[in-house]
Symmetry: C2
Subunit: 199 residues, 2 copies
């Protein structure tokens, strides 16, 4: 059995990334979500070890020093990191590790694991992006402007990703991500043993 893939899924805020990840996990067998470590506070409804591993700044810093992270980044003043050992365990078992991380993290993963497959989710157009960003209604005007500018920068970075999926329609977008994940499993690296079995 070959190693699984590291699948990085990134999107500007409000592009439906989390919904797509959940739908993908429900639809495609053998995809496992990598749970990130974070120093940000737990929000209502979140569970430690499921949504994130919630750790203190000191604990996070120790993990950074002992190089336990495949990537880590600071977003809006909080730290987020992906455990290298956890991802290794998933792909070594032949399953795909799904990393739902931002573009900063995506860039770091590509640097430390060049074989990672990066998929960017895009909003269908600028208006939709604005509506989604501003529709949350819990941020100040300044915060919204900051988010819009961040989203623009994120999208420019997404142009470096391996695959881009436009989230016009959720079902179609999920199906497209599914094609990418399933096609990767058919690559030579993961199927060449089928030839040996026949010869």
């Amino acid at each position: 059995m070959g190693r699984g893939d590291i699948i990085v899924l990134s999107a500007p805020s409000g592009s439906g990334k989390t919904t797509i990840c959940r739908a993908l996990l429900a639809r495609v067998e053998g995809v496992v979500l990598s749970v990130s470590y974070t120093t940000r506070g737990k929000r209502p409804g979140e569970t430690d070890g499921k949504d994130y591993y919630f750790v203190s700044a000191g604990e996070f810093d120790n993990m950074v020093k002992s190089k336990e992270f495949l990537e880590y980044a600071c977003v809006y003043g909080n730290w987020y990191g992906t455990s290298r050992a956890a991802v290794d365990a998933i792909v070594a078992s032949g399953r795909d590790a799904l990393l739902e991380i931002d573009v900063q993290g995506g860039r770091s993963v590509k640097a430390s694991a060049p074989e990672a497959v990066r998929i960017g989710i895009l909003p269908p157009d600028r208006e939709t992006l604005k509506n989604r960003l501003f529709g949350r209604g819990r941020d100040s005007r300044d915060e919204m402007e900051r988010r819009l500018e961040a989203a623009r920068q994120e999208m420019a970075e997404l142009k470096m990703y391996d695959y881009l999926v436009v989230n016009n329609d959720l079902d179609t977008a999920v199906r497209q991500v599914e094609w990418i994940v399933r096609a990767r499993r058919l690559r030579r690296e993961r199927t060449a043993n089928a030839v040996d079995r026949i010869l």
Copy 2:
């Protein structure tokens, strides 16, 4: 609109390659079969310009000399070639050019068009391969042995292909080739303009 892909589909004889190609063309919009040139005689039921362009050895030789072929190869004493101009016209229009060619041809295409995507179709096991090869019942024992050895060599070559699909079940195999073709369309090279449209 980005350029389409050159999709090479190869398989040992009797692995269901032609059936898979037909099903793919029926299922996935925007895939166009590249019609090969050949010096072999037209078989009953074949149409010139649809199954092959049937040409004389002299005509074929002239095309070779004027470098009109993306690949050409001799198989069982007959020459087969893929017109570079025809393939270019298809991919320039944003559609995918499907090349149903043997592994010799696949190797040549990869050399002259490294961006080509090569998909190998494999029989599920050695017994099935033998049954398929020998089930045709129109070849001599020597011819059958020759075909089996050729199939073994072809499969070893297929290990260098980008993707491998095991044809256990025709519907599944067609769906897998479909995932590969559709996933390719989501690659950065073909979708980055979606980012520009938003920014």
